[in-house]
C-alpha cells in the first residue's frame, strides 16, 4: 500500500445487490478501499466485478446497498457528479477531439478550470505523465491502442478524481504493451496517490499491480488479501484454484495434515475435515528428485526462462505439474523416473465432490 494510506476508508461499498432478471450480478457485495490504495477485483467473466465498478462510477443502478466515498453517501448521486476518473476496456477517446482536447474535456466541465491557459497546461502535464506530451495534437485514430489507453488514463487523472476506476484497460492490448502500461499505471498511481479500483480477469495483472486483490465469484467477494497472502493462504478451494496453478491430488487429512505421495504437509485453515480429500498442490510446493525405482514418470518438460515446468505422470495416471529451477532441466528428461519431496508450506485441501 502506498505511504499516504490512512485508516479511514476512501471507498466503502456496503452490501451491494444487483440482479438482472434471474441472474444475480452482485450479491451482498461489500468492499472497503483505503486512501491511496489500489485494489484489484479478479474473477471469471460474469462474476460481477465490472458491475461493482460500474455501480461505483454511477453507471449501474443498484437494487439495494450503499456507496460511501470520502465519507459521503453517493449511492443515488448521478455519474456526472461523482468525481470518478474511469478508463474503459474499449477505446473511449472522443474521436473528434485531439489527445489534448480529450484530456481537457473533464477540466472544461469544472468551474474551477475555466482558465483556458491553465487547462491546457494541466492537460500537457498529464500527457507528460503518461509520456505522450509530444502527441498532444494527434487525434485518436492517429494513435496506437496503447497510446489511446495512455491518453484515456491522462484524461481520467486530469480531473484529480476521488477514485480512479480501471475497467480491464489492458485487455485489448498486445502482451508487451500490456505489461509496460501495467507498470506505468502502478508508477503513476503511486506517484499521485490516487485511490484506485482495477477490474481484470487476468490474475497476473491483478497480482502484479495491486495492494490487495479481491477474488469474486457469483456476485460475492470470496477473499480479499495482499497478492502474496492470496496466493499462499487461500481460504477456499475456489480461490486456491483460480489464483495460480494447482494440481488436485487425492490425500488423507488427519489432525491438520494432508498425507499424500508417501509424505505429509500441513493444511490451510478452511480445508476439508479429517478423511479423504483433494490436496491442491502448487507447482513450486514440491521438489523433484531423480529416482530410478519410482513409478512416477516425467512426461514433458517446458522451459520458461528462470524456471521449468515438469509434467509427471503418477502411478494412478494423474498428471502432476512441478516447477524446478531451469539449471536442473537436464536432470529430468522425458521418460525419466522421479520421486518427490514436499516443502513445509501448507496446502489447501478440498472435499472430494460427491
Amino acid at each position: 500500500m502506498s505511504t499516504n494510506a490512512t485508516s479511514l476508508p476512501a471507498v466503502e461499498l456496503k452490501s451491494l445487490r444487483r440482479a438482472f432478471g434471474h441472474v444475480v450480478a452482485l450479491n451482498d457485495f461489500s468492499l472497503q478501499i483505503a486512501q491511496g490504495e489500489l485494489v484489484a477485483l479478479l474473477g471469471p467473466s460474469g462474476c460481477g466485478k465490472t458491475t461493482a465498478l460500474r455501480a461505483l462510477a454511477g453507471l449501474q443502478d443498484l437494487d439495494s446497498g450503499q456507496i460511501v466515498v470520502e465519507g459521503k453517501d453517493i449511492t443515488h448521486m448521478r455519474a456526472s457528479k461523482r468525481d470518478m476518473g474511469m478508463v474503459f476496456q474499449s477505446y473511449s477517446l472522443f474521436p473528434h477531439m485531439s489527445a489534448q482536447e480529450n484530456v481537457e474535456y473533464g477540466l472544461r466541465l469544472r468551474k474551477e478550470s475555466r482558465n483556458k491557459v491553465g487547462r491546457a497546461r494541466r492537460a500537457i502535464e498529464m500527457l507528460e505523465l503518461v509520456g505522450l506530451d509530444t502527441q498532444a495534437k494527434r487525434f485518436p485514430h492517429q494513435l496506437s491502442g496503447g497510446q489511446q489507453q495512455r491518453v484515456a488514463l491522462a484524461r481520467a487523472l486530469a480531473i484529480a478524481p476521488d477514485v480512479l476506476l480501471l475497467d480491464e484497460p489492458l485487455s485489448a492490448l498486445d502482451a508487451k504493451v500490456r505489461s509496460q502500461l501495467r507498470d506505468e499505471i502502478r508508477r503513476i498511481q503511486l506517484e499521485l496517490g490516487t485511490t484506485t479500483l482495477f477490474v481484470t480477469h487476468d490474475q497476473e495483472e491483478a497480482l502484479g499491480i495491486a495492494d490487495r486483490v479481491g477474488v469474486m465469484s457469483a456476485g460475492s467477494l470470496q477473499q480479499i488479501a495482499s497478492p502474496a497472502e492470496l496466493y499462499e493462504r487461500p481460504t477456499s478451494a475456489l480461490v486456491a484454484e483460480f489464483v495460480g496453478l494447482t494440481t488436485p491430488l487425492p490425500c488423507d487429512i488427519r489432525d491438520g495434515r494432508a498425507y499424500l505421495l508417501g509424505s505429509s504437509v500441513p493444511v490451510l485453515p478452511g480445508s476439508a475435515n479429517n478423511g479423504p480429500a483433494l490436496a491442491l498442490l502448487r507447482p513450486e510446493s514440491i521438489d523433484l528428485v531423480p529416482d530410478p525405482l519410482s513409478d512416477s514418470v516425467v512426461m514433458n518438460v517446458s522451459f520458461l526462462g528462470s524456471v521449468c515446468r515438469v509434467i509427471v505422470q503418477l502411478p494412478d495416471k494423474t498428471l502432476l505439474t512441478v516447477q524446478a529451477a531451469s539449471e536442473r532441466i537436464s536432470d529430468f528428461p522425458p521418460g525419466s523416473r522421479v520421486g518427490f519431496s514436499f516443502h513445509s508450506r501448507p496446502v489447501f485441501a478440498k472435499s472430494i465432490p460427491a
Binding site: 462510477a57 474511469m86 474503459f88 474521436p95 473528434h96 474535456y105 476506476l165
Partner: protein, 262 residues
C-alpha cells in the same frame, strides 16, 4: 484492400456504365428538351429564363424550400434526439422505434392522405390553409430515410462507451449528447438532412391530393401548358438535390481528415 482482377474490373466498368447511362439519359433528355428552339433545331435558354415569370412557380419553390427546411428542423428536433436517447438509455425500444419510423414507407401515399385528411381539417383551425402545414406530414414521411442514415452512424461508433466516458468526466446528459455524441454522428445527421430535403422537394402525391401548391404540383400544372419550363424547373430541382447529396457529406469528410492531419 483486396486487389481487383482484370475481369472483375471490366465487369465493374460495364455495370457502372449501364447504370450511369440509365441515370444520365433522362437528365440529358431533359436538358435537351428544355433548351430546344422549336422543331427546326438550335438551342435557346428561353424556357430557363422564363422560370421567374411562370405563374405561381417561384412562390411554390419558396414553399417547397420552406417545407424542406421545416422537415429538416423536425428531423433534428424530434428524430435525432429520440434516436440517440433510445440508443443510449432505452435499448429495448430500438426495434419498436425502427418499426415506427419505417411505417410511412410501408403505407401507400393515398392511404396516408385518407388517414390524415381529417387531421388536416382539424389542423387548419390553427394554421389556416397554409401549405406550410404540410411540414407535419413531410417530417413523418422523411423518417424512414433519415432513420437509416442516423442509425448507421450510431451503430458505427461505440456511443455508449463515449457517453459513459463523458458522464464520468462530469458531463450532463444534454452536454454529452451535444458535445460528444452529435459530433461523432455528424455525417449521418447531414445525410438524413440531405435526403429529407431531396424527398420534400420531389414530393407530389400528398400535396396534390391535399390540394396544396408545392413545387412539384405547380411543375405538373405548368407541364400541361408550358412543357419546356416545367422540365427546366424539374431539372434545376434535380441538380439542386444532387449537389446537396454529393457536396454536403463530402465537405464534412474533408473537414474531418483535415483536422486529423493538423
Amino acid at each position: 484492400m483486396k486487389r481487383l482482377t482484370g475481369i472483375t474490373r471490366i465487369w465493374r466498368a460495364v455495370i457502372l456504365s449501364i447504370i450511369g447511362f440509365y441515370m444520365l439519359l433522362p437528365i440529358v433528355a431533359m436538358a435537351d428538351f428544355s433548351t430546344r428552339a422549336g422543331v427546326d433545331g438550335g438551342r435557346t435558354f428561353d424556357s430557363w429564363a422564363a422560370i421567374p415569370s411562370a405563374p405561381g412557380l417561384l412562390e411554390s419553390i419558396a414553399v417547397s424550400l420552406q417545407l424542406a427546411f421545416l422537415a429538416v428542423v423536425g428531423i433534428l428536433v424530434l428524430l435525432v434526439p429520440t434516436m440517440i436517447w433510445v440508443h443510449l438509455r432505452l435499448p429495448l425500444m430500438r426495434r419498436p422505434l425502427e418499426v415506427l419510423c419505417l411505417l410511412p414507407i410501408a403505407i401507400p401515399a393515398i392511404v396516408i392522405v385518407v388517414g390524415i385528411a381529417p387531421i388536416y381539417r382539424w389542423l387548419s383551425q390553427f394554421f389556416g390553409s397554409s401549405p406550410l402545414s404540410l411540414a407535419f406530414i413531410y417530417t413523418i414521411l422523411t423518417f424512414p430515410f433519415a432513420y437509416r442514415a442516423v442509425n448507421t452512424s450510431l451503430r458505427s461508433v461505440d456511443v455508449n462507451t463515449l457517453a459513459e466516458a463523458a458522464r464520468t468526466l462530469g458531463a450532463s446528459w444534454p452536454r454529452t449528447i451535444a458535445e460528444v455524441i452529435i459530433p461523432n454522428i455528424r455525417n449521418g445527421i447531414l445525410g438524413a438532412c440531405v435526403i429529407s430535403i431531396a424527398l420534400v422537394l420531389g414530393e407530389f402525391t400528398i400535396s396534390s391530393l391535399l390540394n396544396y401548391e408545392t413545387m412539384q404540383v405547380v411543375i405538373n400544372l405548368l407541364g400541361k401548358r408550358e412543357g419546356q419550363i416545367s422540365v427546366a424547373v424539374s431539372l434545376a430541382a434535380l441538380i439542386f438535390a444532387f449537389v446537396l447529396l454529393v457536396a454536403i457529406p463530402t465537405s464534412g469528410k474533408k473537414q474531418e481528415v483535415g483536422q486529423g492531419v493538423d
